[in-house]
């Protein structure tokens, strides 16, 4: 449902739609906030649907059928004893928009990290390098000593990222550990952006998705993220 369509609905109709989407306290919300919440809820359920539509993943799941009631608890997992002797930070790509970061302190860095944390001076410094123009920048995320992992948003595609675990001291920054480097993949096809000669229908045929996304509603095995660039508007419509 589009924003225009939602704006054409009456307040009571909007509340009804919001309730169907499981939005709580919707009667007390301002109209514009309510519309935004409904759009967010639709997007969330669309993404859930996409996850459920991955045939390949479903087919693999069926190999591991066991009917059990037992639930796992973190207590069971946490008793792997290990001593991480050195400070370390690692970054793993989840998807083009998100990465997982975890870190450890070596014995010598623990005290300093704890002290910095008390003053909100313990940071994850996220370095970004644009791979097309070489521009570099960074942003900081304050973390607490007790924490050891974060999921972070990656602001841009086609960039290289790495993380410094930093103690921000009056005397200067002390880098406790530097992570590996990852690249955030592009979500669109370079040629489609730059090459006017490729039109949409040719592209769909060559991508093997011709006829799959006639209504662009994301039906099908969207693990392949084909829809994302069909919706960018960067593709010239075919004849």
């Amino acid at each position: 449902m589009t924003k225009n369509r939602l704006q054409s609905l009456s307040d009571s109709e909007l509340v009804s739609v919001a309730e169907q989407q499981g939005i709580i306290n919707c009667e007390d919300m301002e109209r514009e906030d309510l519309i935004d919440s409904i759009i967010d809820a639709f997007e969330e359920s669309r993404l859930e649907k996409l996850e459920d539509d991955n045939w390949t993943i479903k087919s693999v799941c069926r190999k591991f059928d066991i009917f059990q009631d037992e639930e796992i608890s973190f207590d069971k997992m946490s008793d792997i004893s290990d001593h991480f002797n050195a400070s370390k930070v690692e970054i793993l790509l989840v998807n083009p928009l998100m990465a997982f970061v975890f870190w450890e302190y070596g014995d010598s860095a623990k005290e300093m990290a704890q002290k910095c944390s008390r003053h909100n001076h313990l940071l994850l410094r996220v370095h970004e390098k644009n791979l097309s123009d070489g521009k570099e920048s960074f942003f900081d995320i304050p973390v607490k000593f007790e924490e050891n992992k974060w999921y972070i948003n990656l602001p841009s595609n086609g960039c290289q990222y790495y993380i410094d675990l930093v103690c921000h001291l009056a005397s200067g920054d002390k880098v406790l550990a530097t992570s590996n480097k990852i690249e955030s993949p592009l979500k669109i096809t370079r040629d489609i952006v730059s090459n006017e000669s490729i039109n949409r229908s040719d592209f769909l045929v060559l991508a093997g998705v011709y006829g799959f996304y006639d209504d662009d509603d994301g039906s099908g095995d969207n693990s392949q993220k084909i829809v994302s660039f069909l919706n960018t508007g960067s593709i010239r419509e075919g004849d």
Partner: protein, 529 residues
């Protein structure tokens, strides 16, 4: 000459699971179900086609962990026990369903299949079905390729170069020992691709691997033949083939694909979920209450759309299977015809499937595959081909860089990295680093220490399997998956700590070597990097 080609790649993989004593883990049935439902019936079909001189060319990935389990004497004996328990249950089922002719007919059919599987397993293959695959390969009917030793998700290990190479080295060694051939193709588990692996695969003399669609489309440029011809990946000299999306849908989608047809047998309703534990027996209902598939399933795909489930009638499916095989080929030929307007060579359509789709989930899938093979045997326009044969016939000079990708939800890494499983990676990376440290600290050990170091290498590799985080995310058997990771990490750390104290716990080591008994010739030096 055909106008277009078809590559069927069937992935045969399960993670290594072997309990110390029989009946300890219900998860051991994953292997038993795979052998019973897929591998034995599939081998029977392919041998029959081969005997009748029906031409076919199928590519099989047989993972080193699966191959190790299939050749493990203890697990082979446990499979015979599995068959015996199902045969005993089958005899009871034939009696129990005597007053229901339709179900009775099915009970007899299942019983006959278990009996036939036992005859094949023991009599034909001497308990090692890898021989069956090996023979088909010798006859030129199938082509067996390999994958990482323990099926790790590559994008998470790319910066652990030594470990990736250890995975590949062990995979090749296992493959060569099992099949007496060197694999030319490589299956990236979960189609997880990250730039750079092509150079490593090239170093190990692989010619090609497979990827998901967006690896091709979001790479350095759109290949001129789209996803329908392999490309050279960078300057590696290694080629990538891209999977086709539509042919996945036909076979893998319950809603839109063939397996959801009303007349086909339904997968999920098994008597193990319906009958009393005492009747089913301890091989189906485990002491902790877990239940596994019994194999006796009586209904067709009807309950999702109708109030009452209908009993499955195998006599009604032959025509449906044939029409689905014809439809599959019709659609692919239609696509080839369209593609020929765009491509400068006969397009190749890559259809990779998990082998257990056939027989295990889609009961009629093996018959469908047979029907497709028979149809293609007399078709002039579309032909089955091995990837290396396509490369030999068609010069593929176009070079592109591929994009990070997988076939997981969202197309990237979320299935193997999320709140349910992210805790494992710090431990896995830690022991991977420690394994490299051990390999460098003990450059030339012999005797007991060498045994301990070799086993440490096994445990480090086992902990890296992509199956465990995947199962944790899926929610099926997640306590078991967590236990496996924990066990491998703990085993490794015990060896590491013992060696640091200059000792080896011989009795414990012997026990754990018997349990995790794969890769007998592993050499810990492979972790030196």
């Amino acid at each position: 000459m055909a106008k277009g080609y078809l590559i069927f790649e069937l992935t045969c993989h399960l993670p290594f699971v072997k309990s110390s004593c029989p009946g300890e883990y219900p998860e051991e049935n994953w292997l038993n179900d795979a052998i019973n439902n897929t591998y034995l019936p599939l081998l029977r079909t392919l041998r029959r086609l081969d005997t009748k001189s029906v031409p076919f060319k199928l590519t099989f990935t047989i993972s080193p962990t699966l191959a190790s389990m299939l050749s493990d004497q203890i697990l082979q004996e446990r499979f015979v026990s599995y068959l015996d328990s199902r045969i005993a249950l089958g005899e009871k089922e034939v009696e129990r369903t005597a007053s229901e002719p339709d179900k009775n007919k099915l009970a007899k059919m299942y019983l006959e299949t278990f009996l036939q599987n036992k005859t094949d397993f023991i009599g034909l293959y001497g308990m090692n079905i890898l021989d069956g695959f090996g023979e088909l390969q010798k006859n030129g009917k199938i082509n067996i390729i390999t994958t990482f030793a323990t099926h790790c998700f590559l994008p998470f290990f790319q910066s652990y170069t030594g470990s990736v190479e250890a995975q590949i080295y062990t995979a090749i060694a296992t493959h060569s020992a099992m099949f007496n051939t060197t694999p030319r193709g490589f299956w990236l588990p979960e189609l997880g691709y990250r730039q750079g692996i092509e150079d490593t695969l090239g170093k190990f003399k692989f010619d090609y691997f497979f990827t998901a669609i967006h690896a091709f489309l979001f790479g350095s440029k759109v290949p001129s033949n789209g996803i329908y011809a392999p490309v050279q990946v960078g300057n590696s000299g290694v080629f990538a083939f891209c999977r086709d999306l539509a042919s996945s849908m036909y076979v893998l989608s319950q809603e839109e694909g063939y397996p959801g047809d009303f007349s086909y047998r339904e997968y999920s309703h098994d008597i193990s979920g319906e009958l009393e534990a005492d009747y089913l027996g301890k091989d189906i209902v485990y002491p902790d209450g877990s239940r596994v598939n019994s194999g006796f399933k009586y209904y067709s795909n009807t309950d999702r759309y109708r109030d009452a489930k209908l009993v499955y009638d195998p006599g009604k499916v032959d025509g449906v299977i044939k029409s689905h095989a014809e439809n599959f080929i019709y659609n692919l030929k239609k696509r080839v015809k369209k593609l020929l307007r765009y491509t400068d060579r006969p397009p190749v359509i890559v259809c990779p499937y998990d082998a257990q789709v056939f027989g295990h989930w889609w009961f009629e899938g093996i018959d469908w595959l047979e029907a497709v093979i028979k149809e293609l045997a007399s078709d002039d326009d579309l032909a089955l081909i091995f990837p290396e044969d396509y490369l030999a016939k068609n010069k593929c000079e176009e070079k592109i860089s591929l994009s990070y990708s997988s076939y997981g939800n969202g197309g990237y890494s979320g299935d193997w990295l999320n709140g349910s499983n992210d805790w494992i990676y710090r431990h896995i990376y830690s022991i991977t680093d420690k394994m490299t440290e051990l390999a460098n600290r003990f450059p030339d050990e012999g005797g007991l220490k060498r045994r301990a170091l070799n086993h440490a290498a096994r445990e480090a590799l086992l902990a890296q399997a992509s199956d465990w985080p995947f199962i944790m995310k899926s929610g099926i058997a997640s306590p078991f998956a967590a236990k496996q990771v924990k066990e491998h990490v703990s085993n490794f750390l015990k060896i590491y700590n013992d060696l640091s104290g200059n000792s080896v716990d011989t009795e414990w080591l012997t026990t754990i070597e018997r349990k995790n008994s794969l890769f007998p010739d592993i050499d810990y030096h492979i972790f030196k990097g």
